[in-house]
Every structure is written in structure tokens, then in C-alpha cells.
Symmetry: C2
Subunit: 292 residues, 2 copies
Amino acid sequence: MSEFDLIERIIAILGDAGTGPGVRLGAGDDAALLVVPDGFELAVTTDTLVAGRHFPAEAPGDLVAQRALGVNLSDLAAMGAQAQHCVVSLTLPAPEVAWVEAFAGGMATAARRHRVAVVGGNLARGPLSITIAAFGIAPCGKALLRSGASPGDTVFVSGRIGAGYAARLADAPAFYEVVPRLALGVALRGVASAAIDVSDGLLADLGHLCAASGVRGEVALEAVPIAAGVEPAAALTAGDDYELLFSAAEAPPAAAEPVTAIGRIVAGAGVAVLNHGKPWSPPDCAGGYRHF
Amino acid sequence: MSEFDLIERIIAILGDAGTGPGVRLGAGDDAALLVVPDGFELAVTTDTLVAGRHFPAEAPGDLVAQRALGVNLSDLAAMGAQAQHCVVSLTLPAPEVAWVEAFAGGMATAARRHRVAVVGGNLARGPLSITIAAFGIAPCGKALLRSGASPGDTVFVSGRIGAGYAARLADAPAFYEVVPRLALGVALRGVASAAIDVSDGLLADLGHLCAASGVRGEVALEAVPIAAGVEPAAALTAGDDYELLFSAAEAPPAAAEPVTAIGRIVAGAGVAVLNHGKPWSPPDCAGGYRHF
């Protein structure tokens, strides 16, 4: 099957997942054409998954597609953006048609689930990797940034921390079926003072938020909702949770995704963990997933 | 140097190439925030370069960056879009700081030259490759598509065909210094009935345009402006030229980039080449760069 035939096959499998609100022209031309509604800004993010590093090289195509889209949409969730569109670049060693068809099918499933249109992409030959650029919209000036936390704010996190680590260790379906907290992100507009998603690790990501805000974060270890069976040190540093970590002056309204208060923002810099009021450090204090 | 330090170094090298019109928030948060002016659509394209396949693995970082951005912007040129922003995903085997610094420097140079803001990206460890997603704007309904050619239109091409092929063979600087025909693309709004850039090869790309338009293309071999020293068969099939190929009912106004009439659109399907009126086929008729 030629490159062009394979692209046509992918587009056919995507079907109605290739279009949606704001799509004036989808895949098949030199570029897609998108419409951003008046009064909205476009949030743009990109993330790459490399076989053998970010997922097992032998992982099924449909699962890889779901994870690739999920981790990108998680960044849009952290901005409080409504996910809208994406472009998907797939590099693979050989035209393994069955794998590509499974990948396209998984992408279609994930795109429909998260109401995102796959409006274009690229197919290249090389070591297996996927790069997605994802686009969302937020009312002008309402997106959630990392930089708005103030002393006195409470720190919240959604879900259970360490669940992504456990799923990764077990190569469980949950590792691939990343659920971006898109509805929560939208609900936090005007509520959260700063937000980030937990990809590098809770402490590392809180560090990023605090550095961007020029504040210090204090986490109460006993308050962190840790996934069953995961050591606290691993849970706080391993990453891969794709939960939302945010600061707010007051508790957010009840949302579909429950959130837990885990600490506070104070004046200063850096991040500290207290265990029932006493300083605590994870045995491996490096904190977070390092790409290098 | 850690991943985060390297990202900060890249952002520092990009400097003012990281911002520009329509950038409300650049690199450093979970996503960039862009503004699309009222009355404009956003054109979105993505392209990947893999080391050892799309460029020599030992190529200098600054040249690779220029080519990576240039080939992406060429797709925006083919849409008649004004290039605005891009996100750059770099995957590399090891934190070779000097190479990354050269890459960032080359990206900054190319971004300034083409007036594009690098608003974000991703850094991952893996086999060397670059995926860029590039964004441009065009007034609503004015973008150039592949699908508007009609029988009776003339076929035009900019520049000299085969120059990219010659540069690739020689691994010459011109191979990396791709000059997207952005000004010409904008000038062709309301003039060209259909457009595409010459990346896969003149005949293959004319084939894409004709297929999208439901018409047949006839090329007069003797009219094609072929680069000095290049065999016609190679010139017409090799690709890598990043010139604009378009159809129009009348000759376009004189632009900075000269264009040449090379054929016509007729009823039917497919592409034919005539040499002084006689059917002609390149010895290798496969036509165009194949990724598989």
C-alpha cells in the first residue's frame, strides 16, 4: 500500500472523527482550515511519544493512539480550554497496515470520546513515534495559567495520585486510556488561580506552578489521595497521572471529577512536603519524570 | 543539563522569535495562547523530518531547523495563508547541548526571516526527528485549496523545478534553506483557482491537485523552467522544490517570485506530459517522493 493509499485509509477509518465544530476544511489539502469563535483564544500544545521510551514498542496501535491523544488533551485541560482539534504525525518503520489501521481506529475512538476532530497529520518512515498538536478554545483572558497562585491559596488535586505509575508498571490498559480532565478544567475557569496537569510528578509539577507564580508550595502528605498499593514517595514523584493540580482562594464547586485539598501556597520559593506537620522527603527526591 | 534547563536554554536562544502578532502566551505553560483576528481562518499543517531519511543524521542543527520550518511554511504558502506561529517537537538521542543550541539558533533565524513566532514545543529522548505544526491565517473563504481547478485554467509554477533535487544530491546549503513562497501564496488569493506546493514532485503534486479538483492536467515539457544541469525526468518527479504549483483562469499579477505557465487544465482525470505536443513519459514514471 502506497503512502497516499495509507493516508486515504486512515482518513476513511477516522470518518466523522475528522470533522466537528470549527472545521472548515479537514485532512487532505496542504493545511486544515479552522475557525476560532469570536471572543475566544486558541490554546495550542504538542507532545511526542517515542516507542521504547514512552510506551512499549510492541504495544497495540489502538492503545498507543489513545494515550497519545490523552496526554495532549491533558495539557488543554490544564489550561481550562475546551478541546477542539488536533493534527497527528505518525512515524513508523514500515507500512504495517494492520498496526496503522488499529492506530487510526483507536484515534477515532478517543477523538469521539473527547469530542476532538482529527483535522490533519503526517505519515513518515522512521523509528516509531507519534507527535500530536492539539488545539482548544477558551474565552479571551479566561484560560488557566501556571502563574497566578498567591500566598493564602489552597492547593487541590483531582483523582488519585500514583494511579498512573501503577498502571505504567503493570502495563495495564489504564496506562493507555488516559482520561484528560477537560470538564474539570473548564469548570475551574474563574475559580483556580493557577493550574497544571500532573505529568512529570506531583512535586515536580507543583514546583513548575510555584516557580511560574513566584510562590512556595506546601503539601500535607497525609492529605494526598494516593492510589491503593502505591508508596507515597513513588506516587508523589512518578508522574503519568494526568490529574489537574491547581491553586484556588476557595474550594471549587463540586464537579464530576472530585478534587482534594492537599496543601497551601505560601510566600517563598520551592516545594515542601509535611507529614502531619513534620518535614518529609521522598527517598528519591529528584522529583518527576526526566526526559534526559 | 536537565530537560527543563535545556528547554529554558532553547527559549532564551529563541528570544524575540518566541513572540509576535497574535501571541497572548508563548512557550513555558501547558499550552500557548493565540489570537486569530476576526474575519480570518486558521490554517494548520504539520510535517516531520527524520534523521537518515529526510536529512543526513550528521547535518548541523541550525540547517536542520531551517529546513524543518521551511517545509512546514511551504504548506501554508500553498494555502495562501500568512504564516504566524509554530510549535516545534524535537526528539533526540542524547542531550547534545551544542547541537540543540545550534538547532535553536537556526530556528530563531528562520522564524525571524519568515516572521513566525515559535510559541511552544516538546523535547523528548529518542531517534533524532523534528515535527513542526505551523499556523497561518487567511481571510475567511479566501484560502487556496487544491480543489478549485477548472477546465480552461492555465497551470503555473514558481521558480525552477529540479533545484531542490540538485541541492539534495549535493547536500548543498540550499537543501536546508528552503524558502517558502509565502508572499506569492498571499498574492494568489482570488487569482489562483487551486494551489499546492511541489514537495512530492511536480507531476505527483499536479496529480494531487487534479484529483482534488476532478480534472486532468497537461504539462508542456518544453515550458517547464528546469534547473540547470538537471535531467527533465528527475526534475519533474524528484520533489523537494517547495515552489508553488497552481491553476488560474488568467496570468497572475507580477510578483516578487516569477511564475511560468507550464500547461493547462482539461476535462478528465490524471496528468499527461507533452513534449512539443507529443506524449512524453519520464523513464521512471513512479512520480514523486514516496515515504513508503
